[in-house]
């Protein structure tokens, strides 16, 4: 097997504070290009914490994390930001849609941050909206979207720049079966293009969809019952 898209080794995370909150106790995970991995676990078990580390939003307390073959622990804040802009697509647990901006503008901001030139933006936005079925809501302000529409917009934003790694925190949580399947199909097509997909979910269907389902329990990952 070729080099994994992302690989964490013995990662721990303890949130500082009084008292300190230990969350991860030695996580090992390796995801190859084109692989679909689902992570489930009880609420508060540290799933979002792990995904934030994978998404370079947070740093582990100890352990190693290689992204696309590069050790990320020594990277500067600005280099981490650059990787977030180009290498990672992230669907947040809270969708984080800008309410004052239209659907299209929400996507255009991501393109601007990623350094995509103005000329290419309209096409990319149109494609992404078509893929998630939001073309008709293109000029609606974000605050008027339904919960499911916001979630689809968040997915569209994550795949917009075709990043090699896609991280999604409960992307199907608010969706009916049909829309949830639609999103999973979308992730499938990404995986077929070689994108490494990590999805956090409470939904057994999503867990079964994945190539591998892992359970986060007691601060460690193990092969889940769903898998």
């Amino acid at each position: 097997m070729s080099r994994p898209a992302l690989e964490v080794r013995d990662v721990t995370k303890t949130y500082v504070g009084h008292p300190p909150t230990p969350v991860l106790h030695g996580v090992d995970l390796s995801v190859g290009a084109g692989e679909r991995v689902a992570i489930f676990g009880s609420s508060g078990s540290g799933k979002s914490t792990l995904l934030n580390i994978l998404g370079l939003l947070d740093v582990p307390t100890s352990g190693a994390y290689d992204l696309l073959g590069q050790d990320t622990c020594a990277l500067s804040s600005s280099t981490r930001a650059k990787h977030r802009a180009s290498a990672l697509g992230f669907v947040f647990q809270e969708h984080h849609v800008l309410g004052a901006r239209t659907v299209a503008e929400n996507l255009a901001i991501k393109l601007a941050i990623s350094g995509v030139g103005r000329r290419g933006r309209a096409d990319l936005v149109r494609d992404a909206l078509t893929q998630v079925g939001l073309t008709h809501r293109r000029n609606a302000p974000g605050r008027l979207l339904s919960g499911g529409e916001k979630q689809r917009l968040a997915v569209a934003r994550a795949i917009l720049t075709q990043p090699p790694v896609l991280l999604a925190d409960e992307p199907t949580g608010n969706l009916d079966r049909a829309n949830a399947d639609n999103i999973l199909d979308l992730f499938d097509s990404q995986a077929r293009k070689g994108v490494a997909v990590v999805v956090i979910t409470h939904d057994p269907t999503t867990a079964r969809w994945a190539d591998r389902a892992l359970e986060l329990d007691g601060g460690r990952l193990r092969l889940g019952a769903h898998g």
Partner: protein
């Protein structure tokens, strides 16, 4: 993120939060407007006080034939008859007038060749003025009394020498100049005295006024200098032409010699210092206001900033967004402030009956001032925005 995207985001943000932006711009406009207005009004007041002071401090009026190019030329003043023979007496008898005297320079009307020695072999002395003045003129320029000054009211060929003139003509300055003389246009003029009290007359060879008028055949180049009591320049100036030429006052022009530089500087510095203090306070106040408003704005935008950071915006991107927003509000506020200042200045001038003076440079400075103040005040809010942790921000919606 490029500059176009940055400006676009800033404009959208400003547009989205119109009410807040309007308040911010209004605050900047008020303070820059008040500052620039205060400086302008202070300068205008200083100029006004100068003019008032000058009117009281000035004591000297100069009366000359009206300009040949002006409408007075139509009056066809006959040659040699600008100032009647009783001109000095008529002016001196006016109330508030202390002295008056005529002067006409020879060099301005005809060649005056000066030599220290015999006209045949002596070299010509240049760089000196030959002035025909009356005895009253020496009083009018406040020269210390000279015993032989009375001779200037006659037409005898005599000279009085200024200090430099005496040196150039090899005449030693002494109590008794008897035996010394200078050659003017080939004729010997005995020296009858020295005018050492006034540096303005130092390079001057003084001869009787009547003599110069005779030699030139006209007094068209003459002027009448009038010394008044303090504060008398204004009122005397308004009647002096009629006193000299009751028949043709329009053939004369008067000018008041302004000399109150000392008082002027004193007033200007005091006002400037006061305005600088008030301006400094306003500046500090505005910057606190801007900083506060921007920090509140940044805090309310924490989720959006966190989202941008999570999507890959650098700290520098985020800081530029906040700085540019502040700077834009600063420029717009400063422009509005300039307009406000202009209104303030004109209103003050109208209320006080002054001449409105608005320095365009000061008005141009207002937007720059607004920009600098707002940008500086945005530094701390920008740092706060750049410090937003994406991991924490994306947890809450």
């Amino acid at each position: 993120m490029n500059v176009m995207d940055l400006m676009h985001d800033v404009l959208v943000e400003i547009h989205t939060r119109r009410a807040r932006t309007t308040l911010l711009v209004a605050a900047i406009a008020l303070s820059t407007g008040a500052l620039v207005g205060a400086v302008s009004i202070s300068r205008m007041a200083a100029v006004q006080i100068d003019t008032d002071l000058a009117a009281t401090a000035t004591r000297t009026i100069v009366v000359t034939p009206a300009s040949q190019e002006g409408p007075a030329s139509a009056l066809a003043v006959p040659a040699g008859a600008v100032f009647p023979s009783d001109a000095e007496a008529a002016v001196t008898s006016l109330p508030l007038v202390e002295a008056a005297g005529l002067r006409q320079d020879l060099t301005t009307r005809g060649a005056a060749v000066l030599r220290a020695r015999d006209p045949v072999d002596g070299p010509e002395v240049t760089g000196l003025t030959v002035a025909g003045v009356s005895a009253g003129y020496l009083d009018a320029v406040e020269l210390d009394a000279v015993p032989t000054a009375w001779m200037l009211d006659g037409t005898d060929r005599v000279v009085l020498l200024g200090a430099k003139a005496a040196e150039s003509l090899d005449v030693p300055v002494s109590q008794d100049p008897t035996g010394h003389g200078v050659w003017l246009n080939g004729i010997r003029y005995p020296v009858v005295g020295f005018l050492t009290g006034d540096p303005a007359l130092s390079s001057t060879v003084v001869v009787p006024y009547g003599l110069v008028t005779q030699m030139l055949g006209t007094d068209a180049g003459a002027s009448l200098t009038v010394l008044t009591a303090p504060g008398g320049a204004g009122p005397v100036a308004s009647v002096v032409r009629t006193a000299v030429r009751p028949d043709l006052p329009a053939s004369l022009a008067t000018s008041i010699v302004v000399d109150a530089a000392g008082a002027r500087r004193g007033v200007a510095t005091q006002l400037d210092r006061l305005v600088a203090w008030i301006g400094g306070l306003l500046l500090a106040l505005t910057m606190l206001l801007i900083a506060n408003a921007m920090v509140v704005a940044v805090m309310s935008r924490t989720p959006e900033i966190g989202l941008r950071r999570a999507m890959g915006a650098s700290r520098r991107n985020i800081a530029s967004l906040v700085l540019c927003e502040g700077a834009t509000a600063g420029v717009v506020g400063g422009l509005a402030g300039a307009a406000l200042a202009a209104v303030l200045v004109v209103a003050t001038a109208v209320v006080n009956g002054w001449t409105a003076r608005v320095d365009p440079v000061l008005l141009a400075v207002a937007p720059v001032f607004g920009l600098a103040a707002a940008a500086l005040a945005s530094v701390y809010p920008a740092a706060r925005a750049a410090a937003v942790q994406p991991a924490t921000a994306v947890r809450s919606d």
